[in-house]
């Protein structure tokens, strides 16, 4: 590894400098496009681009702050992201009075406990808390509410929200707990690798789709997604992942394969959550981030790729 002499901290600083530089360049290009546009002319694409860039600045700034605060900062950031995603998910989901108790347990017990378990590094309970304990206990609580109207559907939706928004997302900070021989103290870089690869896939799908998009992938679910965008985006960000091999414990070809796997999962994460949005008749999960809809619109791809990424590393790299 040609950068092995760098400490994890130096690498983090270098990576964030690179990302901030890229954002600066993108903002400059957006400014130039705006300048070349006739004064006073409106452009919806450019407005959308501006909003996206603004959101990116805020998100990257928050991430940098969390990494600066260390492991506790990353855990706190993702606990907040889970909290916001879960409230967006449940807000658009049909529940009844009888579910109030189950929702309270979800928000104020299972969510904080899940992240607390990462903090104290108790993998055994972390991995089964929501799939086993929440899965069995929450419907008991709801059944005690004596309201059977659409009961299975309600119980399933609460569990689904917890799985997507809390369980899956919590695998991002859980990367900090993996003990990989020869990689001690550098786990934060795994988080960076995951987020950069998957989020760049979203960006490149958007870019390739705008440039070459002809064939719509699934008009029913995601009218804006095209086959050209999907293939170009996933391949480009797989190259990005391969190029980032030096910050990971992977060899370049391993980094490429892993990047491919998480990009494909990330794509389908967005796809599945779009199917739910269509069913609910909404375009976005929320309005929290200008230009990006809600929190869940931003992290749907991370949610699907994080557990797979975590387990690939845990299976092949953790003895």
């Amino acid at each position: 590894m040609f950068l092995s002499a760098m400490t994890a901290q130096d690498t983090l600083i270098a990576v964030f400098a690179g990302v901030f530089g890229t954002l600066l360049l993108a903002s400059a290009i957006a400014g130039l496009l705006r300048y070349r546009l006739a004064p006073g002319a409106a452009s919806a694409t450019l407005d959308n681009l501006d909003a996206r860039l603004k959101a990116w600045w805020a998100m990257i700034g928050l991430l940098a702050l969390a990494f600066w605060a260390g492991r506790a900062g990353v855990i706190a950031l993702f606990a907040f992201i889970s909290f916001q995603s879960l409230r967006e998910f449940v807000s658009l989901t049909y529940t009844r009075h009888g579910d109030h108790g189950a929702l309270l347990w979800s928000f104020f017990f299972f969510l904080p406990l899940q992240y607390f378990l990462i903090g104290i590094d108790w993998y055994g309970l972390f991995s089964i808390l929501i799939p086993v304990y929440a899965f069995l206990l929450l419907p008991i609580w709801s059944a005690l509410g004596e309201d059977t109207t659409r009961f299975l559907e309600r119980a399933a939706k609460v569990q689904w929200g917890l799985m997507i928004c809390v369980y899956c997302l919590s695998h991002v900070p859980a990367l900090m707990t993996l003990e990989i021989p020869g990689y001690e103290g550098r786990n934060a870089l795994l988080v960076v690798f995951l987020i950069l690869t998957v989020q760049s896939s979203d960006v490149f799908q958007y870019v390739w789709g705008k440039l070459l998009g002809r064939h719509r992938l699934s008009p029913n679910i995601s009218p804006s997604k095209t086959i050209e965008g999907l293939v170009g985006g996933v391949l480009t960000s797989t190259a990005v992942g391969a190029a980032l091999w030096w910050m990971t414990p992977f060899l370049p070809w391993q980094a490429a394969l892993i990047a491919l796997a998480i990009n494909v999962m990330g794509f389908f994460g967005g796809f599945v959550l779009s199917a739910i949005k269509r069913d609910r008749g909404v375009k976005d999960w929320g309005q929290m981030i200008e230009g990006h809809g809600g929190m869940l619109d931003r992290v749907d791809s991370i949610s699907f790729s994080a557990p797979i990424f975590f387990h690939i590393i845990r299976y092949w790299w953790v003895p």
Binding site: R87, S91, L103, G281
Partner: protein
């Protein structure tokens, strides 16, 4: 007065944080003329949420209409409703031997003084899925003040944040949709005005599940 203002800001700040409330002004814009905001009633927090999502300048001139029998019980409730929210208190069950002032007159005085009102024409918290029929008070108020705009406000999700009997709220996101204002027609009778107001409010509700 300073303490009341501080309490008011704290309560509306808390309501905004808890519910992430988003106001959608679909049928009109916030304006400082006296108006009557009428909404669906699912929670004691309803008027707080409408109140909190108005621009600060309007908030100071907007008073909820609240039931005296509930809000005058206990010192804290009394302080909140009279000191902080400057509610117009009305008697829901006026008794024959101690007739209080006419509720519609009390509301009319506030409108005449240039204040706006928040009221819930269903008359009580609605725990079901359907909007209840409207009580006639809103018609009598409109008849007495035909110049005033009645703005329907659909409150989405608050009944789930804090259902009846719950002690702890669930932090779901709430949306308030402000619809197109309506005024009473010169010859409009009670039934048709109530039906029109109810339809205007229902039109703001999202499609049923």
């Amino acid at each position: 007065m300073a303490l009341e203002n501080l309490t008011a800001s704290l309560i509306s700040g808390f309501a905004q944080l808890l519910t992430g409330v988003r106001a959608v002004w679909r049928g009109c814009q916030p304006e400082s003329r006296p108006r009557v905001y009428f909404g669906n009633h699912t929670s004691h927090g309803d008027f707080v949420l409408i109140w909190a999502s108005l621009p600060a300048a309007l908030r100071r001139r907007t008073r909820p209409v609240a039931a005296a029998d509930y809000w005058l019980k206990g010192g804290l409730r009394r302080y909140l409703v009279q000191g902080v929210f400057r509610a117009v208190l009305v008697d829901r069950r006026p008794s024959a031997h101690a007739p209080g002032p006419n509720p519609v007159d009390r509301m009319g005085e506030a409108l005449a003084a240039g204040d706006s009102l928040i009221l819930f024409p269903e008359g009580t918290r609605n725990l079901g899925d359907e909007l209840l029929p409207f009580k006639s008070g809103i018609y009598h108020l409109a008849r007495a003040h035909p110049e005033v705009e009645f703005v329907p406000v659909w409150i989405e999700n608050l009944g789930r944040v804090m259902p009846k009997g719950a002690l702890v709220p669930v932090p779901l996101l709430c949306t308030l949709t402000f619809g197109q204002p309506l005024r009473i027609e010169p010859a409009e009778d009670k039934a048709s005005f109530l039906a029109r107001a109810r339809t205007a409010l229902l039109a703001l509700a999202p499609a049923a599940d």
